[in-house]
């Protein structure tokens, strides 16, 4: 079965996000006052898996072995058929 995994990688709570700070600053220059801005990375991955559980396991493997760095990131996975 073909599944689509939506994988979101974000910085762990408390981690400095310099890109977000720069973007927020630039928004301020454009007149948009913001209280908070965070950046996340979204991966859409289509692949074959036996079932939803297998698809989630595979997506988790992708996160742990490449997509996320466990020192600074956490990840969320959503699997769809």
């Amino acid at each position: 079965m073909i599944f689509l995994a939506k994988i979101t990688i974000s910085l762990k709570e408390g981690m400095l996000d310099p890109e977000a700070m720069a973007i927020r600053h630039a928004l301020g220059n454009l007149g948009f006052a913001t209280d908070e801005l965070r950046t996340k990375k979204l991966f859409m991955v289509r692949f074959d898996a036996a079932d939803a559980h297998d698809a989630e396991e595979k997506a988790r493997g992708m996160c742990e072995r490449l997509l996320a760095n466990p020192v600074i990131h956490h990840y969320e996975i959503e699997v769809h058929r």
């Binding site: 981690m15 400095l16 700070m21 720069a22 072995r65 760095n69 020192v71």
Partner: protein, 236 residues
């Protein structure tokens, strides 16, 4: 004695590193294309600076998962030396050969300039020719070089004297202004547990000749060579 400098697509300090090893230090050194793997035993492997895989995903993340890194890990497990410089340091952290991560600078832009470093330990094959507390001037050139590690790991690194270099000012003080990328505890050189792998963001190969305004980095390579000579002398 023979060194290898591994070239990934996007490495750009590979020839500089080889030049210092072969022309300045007088030691044989091969440039090894990453797809060729380590086809013979080497005494030391250098992962050079550059932008492997265009820094896609995270700097060093993709190079760290190439097959040649299995050879580098096997090489390190035999107790042989591995030096990662800049992008090479990012690759070592991503591959788990050294702990922590080198991530985007606190002020998120590319910084290229000379900085001062304090030598934090001489108990390593990479720093033995320095003196503890030496202040040296070496260039940095990176956008993703801010060292980050969890609190318990920082304690462990401090307790085991596994921090090789910290950013400092000309007098050796750890002031906020002297920490160009916002690294935790000013750390910019980290050793693995067995001390035969060093990851450092500054470029010692760019400070190994007086004509380049500093030769403070040369002792990193000379320390490695001395260590290898000694090890060979002991075993033969």
């Amino acid at each position: 004695m023979r060194f290898a400098v591994i070239q990934f697509g996007g490495s750009n300090c590979d020839r500089d590193a080889r030049y210092v090893i072969s022309d300045i230090c007088g030691v044989d050194c091969d440039l090894v294309w990453y797809k060729d793997g380590l086809s013979r035993p080497y005494d030391a492997v250098i992962l050079p600076g550059g932008f492997s895989y265009g820094d896609y995903l995270r700097a060093g993340a993709i190079a760290a998962r190439t097959p040649v890194m299995k050879d580098v890990i096997a090489h390190a497990q035999k107790g042989r030396l591995v030096l990662g410089i800049c992008n090479g340091a990012q690759i070592l952290a991503e591959s788990g050969l050294v702990p922590g991560v080198f991530t985007i600078n606190a002020y998120p832009k590319f910084i290229c300039r000379s900085v001062y470093l304090r030598v934090e330990t001489t108990n390593s094959p990479f720093t033995s020719l320095y003196r503890n507390g030496d202040i040296i001037r070496i260039p940095i050139a990176h956008k993703e070089g801010r060292f980050v590690a969890p609190e318990d790991l920082l304690c462990e690194l401090n307790d085991a004297a596994r921090i090789a270099f910290r950013f400092c000012d000309a007098a050796g003080n750890l002031t906020p202004d002297s920490n160009p990328n916002g690294a935790m505890e000013h750390i910019t050189g980290v050793l693995n547990e067995t001390r035969n792998v060093l990851a450092m963001m500054p470029h010692p190969e760019r400070a190994s000749e007086e004509i380049l305004s500093s030769e403070d980095g040369k002792k990193v390579f000379l320390s490695m060579i001395t260590h290898i000579e000694h090890a060979k002398g002991v075993t033969s």
